[in-house]
Subunit: 340 residues, 2 copies
C-alpha cells in the first residue's frame, strides 16, 4: 500500500460520510445508503470512484449540480420498459433505484429496461452490475458522459468514455465487467505521468499524431484513445445514442467538460431474469466452466495470473473487509474538515 | 475495385445462390431468403461475409454442420424472454427469425430477449441490427464463436471474437455498429500479409511477446489482440457467458476451431421499442444531433472523413445497388461449378 494511505474500518468511514451527507440535505436513510455506496466501492478496490471521489461529489452538491433531496420519478411506462426522470438527484442513488426497478420488472417480464434521463455521475458503474448479480439477474447498463475522447479520425473530443457494465450471476463469484470506452482514464494518465512511467500499451496520440505510451504527451494533445481505435469510437457513439434516445435525455455533446458541471446525464439499465427460462444449477455450471476455460489458458509468463472480470474485485473485497479500507491521507483530511 | 472483381446485378446473384440452396434441401422460400441475406451483405459492402462466404456455407451444409431443413423452436417462454433451439439450422435464417420474434415481443412488452442455442454462424451480424432498426426498434445482439483470441495475459486462444451488434433507428440513416472483439480478423491479417502491408495499428503480439503491426508475425504466434487489450478480453468473456447461460447453450471453449465444424453456437437478441415510451420525432432529432456532433469534430487531416457506424454501409449500398454487386472472380467460378 502507498505510504500516503492508511486503513480504517468500513463502519467508521461509513459513519463519517453519512454524517456529512446529512448536513447537506440528505435524509438519514439516503445519507446512509449513499455513504455505503462510496465505502463499498473503496472496499471493492475501485479507489478512484470510492472515498477518494467523495470530496468532488460534495462539491457538486454545493454548486447545485446535484440535488440531494431529489428522487427519481417514472415518466412513461409500457410493460417491461419504463422511462424515468432522475431530477438531477445523487447519481449513485438514482442508478441504484433504476437497477432495483429493472430487477423487479425483469422478475415479472423476464427482461426489463429502465431509461433514466436527467441524472448525475453514478460513481462506480460496476456497483449496479453487482447489485443485479447479487439478485440472481444478468445485467447490462451504461451511462453517457461529457465528451472526453476524439471520435476515430478526429483531434477534438466529441464522444464520451461512456462506461458499460455487464454482469452474470455465479454462486462461486459473479462475472462483472466495468469498462469505460477510453483505453486509459485521464486519472490513469496523470498517475503515470507523475511516476514518470510509460503506459503499458499505447494510450493515445501525441501532438504530432503518433501513437504513444507517454502519458504527458496524451494529456497535452487531449487525444486519448478509445478502446480498439475505430471500434470503441463506434461503441461509444451507439451507447450514447441508445441512452439519450430511450430516455429522451441529453447526449454527450450537450454536457459541460467541467466535471463539477457535468449533469443531467442519460443512462440505460437492462436486467434479465435467467431463472425464468432455465435452471440456476445449470447456469452456475455453464459459468463455472467458462471461468475454468479462461483460467486454463497458458499464461505469458510464470508471474501472470489470468483473471475473469470481477475476480480481482472479490479478492480485494475480502482483503479490505478484513484489514480496513485503504484511505488516502490527504483525502481524509479534506473529509475531516467538512461539517458533520 | 480490385481487377479480380467484376460487377453483377443483385437479382442475378440472388437467383443463382437460391437455385443452389434449393438443390441442397432448402424450400424455395427459405432458399430465397437465405440467398437474399448473402447478396444483401455484399451489397452493403461487407464482402468477407456475403457472396464470398457462400462456398464455405455450402461446405458446412454438405458436411452436416448445418441442417438446411431445421427451423428454430421455442423451448421456454416467460413474458418478454424466450429460449429457443436453433436445431443447427442455417445460422442466418435462425438469427433473422430470432430477431423477428424479439421485435414482435418488444412491441408487446417494450423490450424483449430471445436466447438461441444450437445455432450456426450468422454470417454478417450487422444484418440483424439493420433488421431491427428498419422496424423502428433499438437492438443489441451478439453471438459466441470458437476460441480464436488469447485472454489478456495468455498466449493460447481461449476466448471468442464474439461479434456484438448495436443498432438505433434513424430516419436519416440508422446507426448500426457491427464489431468483433478482435482488433483484426484472421482474414484481415491474411490480406495485409499478402500485400506486405503493415497493420494500421498494433494487431497482436509476435512470438517474442512484443506488440506488432506485422500481420505474418501475428499469424505465426496466434496471439491476435482483443480490442482494448484487457478490456475486450473481459467483454468477450461476458458476452460468451450471457449467451451460453441464457440459452443453456454451448460456450466458446466447447467449439471446434475448424471453421467447417464450428456449430451449435449460442446467441442473444435484445430488441427495445422506443416509441412505446417516447415520441419518434424526438428520437430522430436526438439521433440527428449526435450524428452532427460527431461530424463536427475536427479531422486529423483534410483527407479524413469522420463517420458514424452505419454511414459507410449506406453509401456502399447505394453504390452497389446502382452499379451491381462486386463479385470475386474465383469465388464466382466456384459458385458456377455448384449444381443448381
Amino acid at each position: 500500500m502507498d505510504p500516503t494511505m492508511f486503513r480504517m474500518p468500513f463502519a467508521d468511514v461509513l459513519a463519517r460520510l453519512a454524517a456529512i451527507l446529512e448536513t447537506l440535505g440528505f435524509t438519514p436513510a439516503r445519507a446512509n445508503t449513499c455513504a455505503h455506496l462510496f465505502a463499498e466501492t473503496t472496499c471493492d478496490g475501485v479507489y478512484t470512484h470510492g472515498v477518494n471521489r467523495f470530496p468532488r461529489f460534495v462539491a457538486t452538491i454545493r454548486n447545485g449540480s446535484v440535488d440531494p433531496a431529489a428522487e427519481p420519478v417514472c415518466l412513461s411506462a409500457f410493460g417491461a420498459l419504463e422511462r424515468w426522470d432522475g431530477r438531477r438527484g445523487p447519481g449513485n442513488l438514482n442508478a441504484q433505484a433504476a437497477m432495483d426497478r429493472a430487477i423487479a420488472l425483469a422478475r415479472q417480464h423476464g427482461i426489463a429496461c429502465i431509461a433514466l434521463c436527467n441524472t448525475n455521475h453514478w460513481m462506480r458503474g460496476g456497483t449496479y452490475g453487482w447489485q443485479a448479480a447479487d439478485a440472481g439477474l444478468i445485467a447490462l447498463c451504461w451511462t453517457n458522459t461529457m465528451p472526453n475522447i476524439p471520435p476515430w479520425g478526429a483531434v477534438t473530443p466529441a464522444i464520451g468514455n461512456n462506461p458499460l457494465i455487464l454482469a452474470v450471476p455465479r454462486p462461486n463469484g459473479h462475472l462483472v465487467l466495468d469498462m469505460a470506452m477510453s483505453q486509459f482514464s485521464y486519472g490513469a494518465l496523470e498517475t503515470h505521468r507523475r511516476r514518470s512511467q510509460p503506459l503499458p500499451v499505447p494510450g493515445g496520440f501525441d501532438s504530432a499524431g503518433q501513437l504513444t505510451r507517454d502519458a504527458a504527451a496524451i494529456e497535452a494533445s487531449q487525444r486519448a484513445l478509445p478502446i480498439g481505435y475505430w471500434k470503441g469510437s463506434g461503441l461509444s457513439i451507439l451507447l450514447d445514442s441508445i441512452a439519450a434516445v430511450l430516455a429522451l435525455g441529453n447526449a454527450t455533446h450537450q454536457f459541460s467538460t467541467d466535471p463539477l458541471l457535468e449533469t443531467a446525464l442519460s443512462q440505460t439499465f437492462i436486467a434479465i431474469h435467467p431463472a425464468a427460462v432455465g435452471d440456476p444449477g445449470r447456469h452456475a455450471l455453464i459459468a463455472d466452466e467458462i471461468v475454468a476455460s479462461v483460467h486454463a489458458a497458458t499464461p505469458d509468463s510464470p508471474d501472470t495470473t489470468i483473471r475473469y472480470p470481477g475476480e480481482q474485485t472479490l479478492r480485494l473485497r475480502v482483503e479490505n473487509t478484513a484489514l480496513g479500507l485503504p484511505i488516502d491521507e490527504s483525502t481524509w483530511s479534506t473529509i475531516m474538515e467538512m461539517p458533520a
